[in-house]
Every structure is written in structure tokens, then in C-alpha cells.
Symmetry: D2
Subunit: 280 residues, 4 copies
Amino acid sequence: MTEPLVASSDATNISTRIERDGDEYVINGRKWFISGSADQRCKIFIVMGKTDPGAETHRQQSMVLVERDTPGMTIERHLPVMGYQDQHGHSEIVFDDVRVPATNLVRGEGDGFMIAQARLGPGRIHHAMRAIGMAERALGLMVSRAQERTAFGGPLIEQGVVQEQIANSRLEIDQARLLVQKTAWLIDQGGAKAARGEISQIKVAAPAALSAVVDRAIDVFGAAGVTEDFPIARFAAIARTLRIVDGPDAVHRRTIARVETRRERPYVESAAPTSPAPAE
Amino acid sequence: MTEPLVASSDATNISTRIERDGDEYVINGRKWFISGSADQRCKIFIVMGKTDPGAETHRQQSMVLVERDTPGMTIERHLPVMGYQDQHGHSEIVFDDVRVPATNLVRGEGDGFMIAQARLGPGRIHHAMRAIGMAERALGLMVSRAQERTAFGGPLIEQGVVQEQIANSRLEIDQARLLVQKTAWLIDQGGAKAARGEISQIKVAAPAALSAVVDRAIDVFGAAGVTEDFPIARFAAIARTLRIVDGPDAVHRRTIARVETRRERPYVESAAPTSPAPAE
Amino acid sequence: MTEPLVASSDATNISTRIERDGDEYVINGRKWFISGSADQRCKIFIVMGKTDPGAETHRQQSMVLVERDTPGMTIERHLPVMGYQDQHGHSEIVFDDVRVPATNLVRGEGDGFMIAQARLGPGRIHHAMRAIGMAERALGLMVSRAQERTAFGGPLIEQGVVQEQIANSRLEIDQARLLVQKTAWLIDQGGAKAARGEISQIKVAAPAALSAVVDRAIDVFGAAGVTEDFPIARFAAIARTLRIVDGPDAVHRRTIARVETRRERPYVESAAPTSPAPAE
Amino acid sequence: MTEPLVASSDATNISTRIERDGDEYVINGRKWFISGSADQRCKIFIVMGKTDPGAETHRQQSMVLVERDTPGMTIERHLPVMGYQDQHGHSEIVFDDVRVPATNLVRGEGDGFMIAQARLGPGRIHHAMRAIGMAERALGLMVSRAQERTAFGGPLIEQGVVQEQIANSRLEIDQARLLVQKTAWLIDQGGAKAARGEISQIKVAAPAALSAVVDRAIDVFGAAGVTEDFPIARFAAIARTLRIVDGPDAVHRRTIARVETRRERPYVESAAPTSPAPAE
């Protein structure tokens, strides 16, 4: 889905074209951050583009399948992420008059946005769950390190500032985990659509907790924390990236606010001015 | 429990003396923030003091009952809280050779600290629950106000900054509420002692959420938010106070860290330096 | 300027009407948070309202002088501010067909917005300076208290968490003070208009520093911090209010961003996508 | 100075031994994060170790010069920093019975700590200045990007949330820059020792500003922000590292607090309890 030339957080910005030509679709465009593409076992790409730019906003996009060796498709480079090159690759790929059979269309023309939304709910909770796991591991490491190290007259674990860092980390992890668990339960009960607000909540909360915990872990580890001797620096990179993938924080906060605005409130309380309005 | 002359967050600091004299206890000391004391229906005071300053740290304190009109006991003033005078009063009370029958002792000599701890667990979750309720109400008011007001070309509710404030408030409330609910469940399962870490967690998390939400509500309400026309300014005062009562945040964070340090971790991962230590 | 029925942070919202009628102006409307009005020495009110709602946005407003005892003008109540009643009063005032001589017009019709802006620059730096002073005093009190109190085995001043609170307070105060001093120098050099961005900066930075410092001071003081025995609780109320008066933070951040966007940058660096755009 | 086996933020922890043996010093120990060591132009290493572990705390350490090819000295690896390998290298180096002429001693035995402190003042302000520069550049890029990109119906630059990110960045940069400038002036006036508190202040403030600004820049750039197409991801790595090098934040905050505690205050105000202490 992601394209370098537009702000892809707004899916209506997608500029790749998928045009019908007889029994084929012709694809032109440029994508990036296509995860897994460096792995040769990745044989099929699912490409989202616009089949009908004139349709209503969320019916313009479609998805088609493209096989790895289709002529016109070039993997230009694998993108680093916060300094790290993932062995599975996050590629930039150009589609230049790439032709695929019309039967490669996924579901129907105009269904692209809907399919993406359906996948993104579960994808987002998966990201959130991984974030909780990494945060928990970083906290465990932080505690161990603080028990093992000594500075300024005693073990780090006995210093108030380190204890605050541990306490705040536990607070953030437990709260984010409970929200993830509630969201998973809601998805099980009523599907991803019913849990739309909660999915956006955990997409913000879990990476935020991870970022904060990892940042403190680096403080406790000192120089060792920025190396590859421990997984912490890598977690920091993942944490930052998780705040962008599958929708940046700002977009999810917007969703949370929208759900909140429509919430029915069992009590009635006015926020209108208490001063009498002037008589007309 | 609270005394003006010492840091009462450390209960071992308590300086009020309760001395046995024949069939009586004689109380000397000064307390403040004794809630409810302005209400004439408050007939009996439970006073904590030291019966045996030479005993081990947590066995020095005892509790005795003191009737309202006992000679030597003077309510000097009712203390304001962040600008507000509560009608039930938070008093400063002097005990000057106050004599009560020895049978007024609660449980046994030296049991004061233990009794206090037993009461504080439930007391803290009650504070946390009230904080969640106030935060939820403040958020509801914030949303209503943002829907009703217009500035810079549109309703506040459509402005990104206000949406962020609503989203962050919802995020904090829901996470704090889940933590409170989990803690209540834990208390039901195994008692307040087993949930010691979680009780400290909610004692920090819930007032923090309330403080943050109320602060944003004032932003959305503008000048009306600092008046008594809405409950928001009062909530701000309560929120600040809740971060002190029944143990300040710093003390609870210390408890959370201590519980965390003792946690058994199912996985084993070393945080020791990866560089080989020098051979001795 | 401030009115209860509209969001006054957007001055174009002002709803009070000032209509010319022969040799007089007739005022109808409702104002609140009119500071100083409880003080009988306050003999003259400067009222802003719309003389020409059809004019361009910033030429609709005018200011007129109204004497204290003019018929039709009623001080309805004095508003509390975060729990505090200021003895000089912040009043809610109704103007009901209040008539003043046309010569009471300040400068010219349509000049109201311009006059307000001219006054607000100096007014804002004055608020910022007061905030720095209060923050400095709160920090001094915090240090003294931390030196005087003992908890958990030592004076508070030797505890890492308290040291962090002191350090962060010093950091915030010094940075905010330097920004205020720079802004004052800029105003001296080129007038308030040239320092528009900086005035908005200090209007945000100084009350933010004050709020943060005071909040930590309450932590260090414990219960004493929320009483009137020390000025800290009152400072907390003032700090919160300062983030609203003379334009709320959100409006000033908008101004800072606007100035920043127009800033000329001596270096040229493109933020455009590095991927080649498709040939048309 | 930095060693993998101890918390080097506390210089008294240094475990490398430098022992006099006739006309030579014999060095045994392990160092890491020795910057510049991968560059062959680096011919001489300055090594800090303990010559007299029994001396008073700050007189145990000495510095000696070690030439690149001295037998017994092995560069084991170059350490990555938050995912990045610097071409100049941050190495882990083992000293195994490395012998250097006694004349390689810098100044005198026991002067190591003093020399380090003398160098660290200027070193820290240099780090702070670089941080300001990177933050300014990141803000410039952020503004450009926000002007160039469109999402949800308009350019990012017109969205309130992005404007807040720009405004907060400007606020933090300007305040940190002024503090750096003041500190440089103080060093010029009275030397690094007189500006000890301020040097610690900028060592905390400037990297903190950089971290915050860069984090927002990534939000505005989206996926492009985590790549190497722009310098932002690299700045994030540098920012995190700057909060550790030359003393971690926690150590500098401790210094700031200590300076603050000793500050003479021109006014006298008591923070002692206002309640009368009991008569003895």
C-alpha cells in the first residue's frame, strides 16, 4: 500500500494506477516499505492501486496479485529502518506497465480499501501484542541490569530514580496489555469493525509503552544499551517504526476521537454556558 | 495519621505519643488533614501514635479511639485544599494530655501500622475508582463543549489538537480503568496484601489520568473551566490532592519497583556484560 | 474582551454590540473575567464590541469607555479562579442598553482589534515575568523543604527522585527566563510586532515551567503544599490560569508555527521524496 | 574512559589497572566505545586507569599515552550505535600487559580524574552545540515536508497537530540554544568549573530537545523519516546516544541539584512547618 510520493496514511492518496486492458490489468506506480520482499520465498505480491479515480473516495482502489518475476516490476532497493536492515527486506518497487491476468483481481474492482481495512484490524493488534512482549522483555533486562550494576555507592536497583523508571515501565506495560486483551476480546465478540476505536487505541498505546520502556532501559544499561549485545537498541528502532506502520499515531488518535464523539452517554450533562443567552 | 511536623508518608515518622497511665492512655501530639472533622456527626476520632518508640519499626504504633468532646483535644482550624474548603473539613487537631480509657485501644498495642495498612488497600482502590469516574465525566463535558463551541472557522471538535486531547484522554481513562478492575478482581481473589503492587499501581495511575484529562478539559472550556460553573476546576484540585493522600506517588512507585524486583520471570536472560570478565 | 457565550480566544467571535445612536454609543452584551472590577477604585471600564459586523474581520471591533455607575451596566458576580476568589474580582458584567457619549470611543471605529493586539504584547511578557518569579520562589521553597524534611532514612534532599525534581525545575526555569529576556530585548529593539513569535513562545513557555515546578513543589511539600500555609497551591491555580489568559496555549502555538513557516532559512535543503516522480 | 564491566558514569568504578614497573607502566583492562579508533590516522590512545586504588576517591586514576601498535593491545570489535556503524569506529579494546614508558604518563600520577573533568566541560558544550544544530536542521526539514505533503484534505502544514509539533520544536530549540549560549559565555568569563551547573544543564537540555524534535520530524516524514534518504533517523540515533555520552542524564541532573542546593538565595523564606512545634 505504501508509496513514497504521497502521504499514504491517507489511503485516498494512493497514486498507483491499475487499468483494465482486455483480459489484463496494467499496473504503473511506485511502492516502498514492501516487507518480506527480499526473501525469495516471497512469490506473490498483493498490489493496491486505483482502478477508478473517479469513483467515490473508498471505492477507487482495487487489489491485484503480481507474481515475483512479472516483467516491468523492479525491486530497486531494500530500505533501512532506523539504521537497521531487515534480512527479509522492506523494498522500494517500481511497476512499469506490469501486466497480470484480469483473474488476478482480489474480490472485485473497488474493494481494495475495504479489504485493506479488514486486514489492518488484526494486523494492528498483532503489532500491539509484539510491542507488549518486547516491552516486557526490556523491563526484565532493565531490572536484571540494575541488580547487577553498582554506581555512586550502591546497586542501581536501590536508587530512587531507577526505581521510578522500573515502576513507570510496569505501569505502562500493564495498562497497555490490559487494553490489548480487552480489544482482542472485543474482536472475538463482535469483529474488528465493532472494536474499531479500541484497535486504534492499542495501536497508539502499545508502541508508546514500548518506546518509553526501551528508552529507560537504555538509561539503565548505559553504553551497552545502544549496542547489539542486547536487543534493546533494536527494540527502540522497532518501537519508533511501530508508531508509523499500519497508520501513524495521528491518524489513530483521530479515529479514537471520532468514536468518542459518537459515543452515547448514559448521563445527560450540559456543557453550554451557564450565563443566560441574550433574549433575541 | 497525618502530622504537620513530619513527613507522614513514612509512617515510622509519626511523633504523636500515646502513653499508658493506669487505666488510661494519655495522648500528646498534633494531627492535620483529619477529614470529616468539621461535620458534627463525627463523634469519634481514631488516633494513631507511638506507644512504644523503642519497639521494632512497624510495632511502635497503636490506635486509640477519642470521643469528640474529650478535654485537651482542640480543633484549631479547617485546612483548605488547593483553594477549596470542604464542608466536612480537613482539620488540624491538637492533643494536649488527652486521656481516654485503656479499653479505647483498637486491637492491641503495636498493631497500629498493621491496621492502617489493612485499611489503606481498600481505601486506595476507592480513591482510584472515584478518580476514574471524575475523569470520565470531565471527558464527557470536554466532548460536549467541543461540539458546542466554534473558533477559527469551525467547531472545536473538528480541530486536530482538540481531537488529540480527546483521544489521549480516552486512552488514559480506559487503561487506568482496566487496571483498577484487574486490581479489584485480585483483591477479591487473594486479598489486599496479594494485590499490593497493583494497589500501588492504581494509586498512581488513576489520579494521573484524572489530572491529565482535567487539564485538557480546562483547555477546551477556556475561562469557564476555571470557574465553579462546571465541576472541572474542583476536579483539578481533587486530582492534585489524590496524588498525595494515602501515600504520595513517590512512595507507591517505590512499592511497585520493589514488587517488580522480586517478580519471578519465567524466562532466563542475562543482563551481564557480554565482554568476558578478566581472568583472576 | 472575554465573553461567556463565545470562544473569545478567537477575537472575531466577540458578540457584544456597540451601536452608534446620534451622539451616543449603545452597548448590549455580556462580559466576564473583567479583572479588578471588585475594587471600587476601578472607575472606568474599557469595553470591546462590534460596531460594524459587516466589515472585514479585524475592523469590526471598537473600544469605548464606560464609567462605573452608568445605567444598564450590572456586575452580576465575581468569578472564582481554580477555587480562589481574588479580592480585586474577576466579574461577569451585563450591558443592557448602556449609553455613553460618542466621544468615549477609543481612537476610531474599527480600531478595537488593533488596540487590543498592541496592548497584549506587553501584557503577555508581564505575565511571563511573573510566572518566572513564582517558579523561582517555588523552587527555593522546594529546596528548603527538602533540606528540612526526613523520610525513609534520610533528608529528602539526598533522595534521587527529589534531586531530579530540583534539577528539572532549574532547567525549565532557566530556559524560560532566558527566552523571556531575549523577547524583552527584541521588543526593545523592534517593538512588539517584530517579536510576535517570541511573545507567543514565552506566553507558552513561562506558565508551562511554572506549572511543572509548582507541581513538583507540592510533591516535596506533601499535604502542606495544598494548604494556604505556603504560596504553592495558589501558584498552581495562577499557573493554570496563565495558560488561558491573554490567549490559550493552543492559539499561541498556532502563532509560533505560523512565524516558523514563514522563516527564511539560510540553507536550502529539500524534503521532497528522493524517489523519482513518474514521467508524465 | 568507558569500560564494559562497570558503570563508568561513576568514574570511581574504573577497573583498568596501570601499574608502575621500573621505567614502565603496565596496563591491564578492557575499554569500549573508544571513538575514532577505526581510523588509521588515530596513532595514540589516551588510557585512563587506576594507579593507586588505595588513594582517595578522585586521586586513584591516572592517564597514560599508548601508541597504536603497542604489543598486548587488541582492538576486538567496532561497536554499533543504535543500529549505525560509524566509519571512525567506537571500539572495544583489550589491554593485556601493555607496557609503555613511564614518561608516557600525562601530567602526574593521580591526576587522571582532574584531567578528565577539565576536558569534559568543553566536550559537553560541543555536544550540546551539535545537538542544537541537528535539531534546527530537523525542524527545517519538518516544515518543508509539511508544506509539501497533503493528507486528509489539505497540506500537513495547515493541520493543527502538525502546527503544534512545529511550535513545540521551536520552543525547545530556542530555549536550549539560549542556555548553551549563556553557558558558553559563563565559561569564557570564569572557566568551566564556575559553569559546572550550567554545563550539566545543557548536557541534559540540548539532547533532550534534539530527541523531541527528531521524534516529531519522523511523525511528519512518515516512512521516509526512518530511512537514510534524510538525516532524521540518524539524528534520532545520535540524540539517544548523546543522552549517555560524557555522563548520562541522571548524573548531570544530580550535579544540577547539588549546585542548586548550595545556591545562595537573596531572599529568606522558611519552608518549615507553620504549625507550632510542641513545647519540650
